[in-house]
């Protein structure tokens, strides 16, 4: 899937670029974005180090395990493939809490920690597990209770009006994400196959 979308975006970009006369802009964008990608990744180092350090302390002191235990009833249903007391559950819960509270730059390191722990129990290191896809879909559906600071800054006094509409829409998208992964993970074209490509 990603193979087609990835190629499709570049292909459409080049073809449309030729017809609209934007081909120079397409070239420039390709080179610029390659640089942007590296800058983004490098920019993550500091904040990643900070949260991963704090997370290590939380792990050593048993906090993560405690949190994972508390939310077991929900997480067992969402991530049936992950052992109940696995540290991944703790990281997943922390990542979601950070997302709900609108702490974007804390959420990413916590999410990557969760991915690392999910990868430990993955038999095929190149292929995503059901739990990883579920986790990712929930993440991309943006569960949040707090409006992004940028939106508040732009909307000013009106932002309290869109508080409820945002919670509603984000709730709908999260439900849709969970329903979609649970439906799709059983489909043949998304089954785990060694050596296949999807």
């Amino acid at each position: 899937m990603l193979n087609y979308i990835w190629f499709g975006m570049m292909f459409v970009g080049v073809v449309v670029g030729i017809f609209t006369g934007n081909i120079d802009a397409v070239t420039a964008a390709a080179i610029d974005m390659a640089k942007v990608a590296v800058n983004l990744a490098i920019g993550l180092i500091g904040i990643m180090a900070l949260w991963l350090g704090i997370m290590k302390i939380a792990e050593e002191s048993g906090l993560i395990r405690l949190i994972a235990k508390g939310l077991r009833p929900i997480t067992v249903r969402l991530f049936p493939g992950v052992p109940e007391d696995h540290p991944a559950i703790g990281s997943i819960v922390l990542n979601m809490s950070a997302n709900i509270l609108g702490l974007g730059n804390a959420a990413t390191p916590l999410g990557l920690k969760a991915m690392e722990e999910l990868q430990e129990i993955n038999p095929d290191k190149e292929t995503a597990t059901n739990a990883m896809c579920t986790f990712l879909a929930i993440n991309t559906s943006s569960v949040q209770l707090i409006l992004p600071a940028t939106v508040v800054a732009l909307m000013g006094a009106t932002s309290s009006q869109i508080f409820i509409t945002t919670i509603f829409a984000t709730g709908m998208s999260t439900i849709a994400a969970i329903a979609a992964v649970k439906f799709l993970e059983k489909r043949k074209q998304f089954a785990i196959q060694s050596g296949g490509n999807s």
């Binding site: 990835w6 802009a25 390709a30 991963l52 559906s141 940028t150 829409a169 998208s173 849709a176």
Partner: protein, 182 residues
């Protein structure tokens, strides 16, 4: 009532990060006798490797998105889709944002800023736009970073599910705002 609740929640969120930064080591040091400094450094070491590991995935995704955006393909799609959208009650003004949102965080923020400046924060279009922005994520970026950090290349159904969730978020934003403010 809602206003004071929103303000309260936003107030609380200001304190969460500093409290976590000090609360977690406090719990470890005082209750569990964890060597907090040494443990922190061990954990922090991974920050560098993870950041470097995601570079190839980010380059792949962001270059493709950049080429697509720069070509003007989004405008073509917009012209093509706007009659259909008007028919189902989806303001065509909100479509660029809806299409941009899964691709680029800074791009969609730019479009949202534009919508609010053009139509004013009290307009239905701005409210729909802001709701959309708050209820969806930059799916492609999240996919590249999360899977890239552990070297997953075969992403199975994650992208389809993520994009479906985005679509549901976008349409929910339109209809809930029409219902409340329309």
């Amino acid at each position: 009532m809602i206003e004071s609740f929103v303000q309260g929640v936003n107030q609380v969120s200001r304190y969460i990060i500093p409290l976590l930064l000090v609360g977690i080591p406090f719990y470890g040091l005082v209750f569990k006798k964890v060597k907090v400094y040494e443990t922190f450094v061990v954990g922090a070491k991974d920050g560098f490797t993870i950041a470097v590991r995601i570079i190839p995935y980010l380059v792949a995704i962001l270059v493709a998105i950049g080429m697509f955006r720069a070509s003007g393909a989004l405008d073509l799609l917009l012209n093509f889709l706007s009659p259909v959208l008007t028919f189902i009650g989806f303001p065509p003004e909100n479509l660029p944002l809806a299409l941009m949102r899964p691709l680029s965080g800074s791009g969609s923020l730019g479009l949202l800023t534009d919508l609010i400046n053009q139509h004013g924060p009290d307009s239905l279009i701005a409210k729909i736009g802001a709701t959309m922005f708050g209820s969806t994520e930059t799916t492609f970026y999240v996919l590249a970073v999360y899977f890239g950090s552990v070297g997953i290349r075969k992403t199975r159904h994650a992208l389809v599910a993520g994009l479906f969730a985005d679509a549901v978020g976008v349409f929910s934003a339109v209809y809930i705002c029409r219902f409340f403010f329309g």
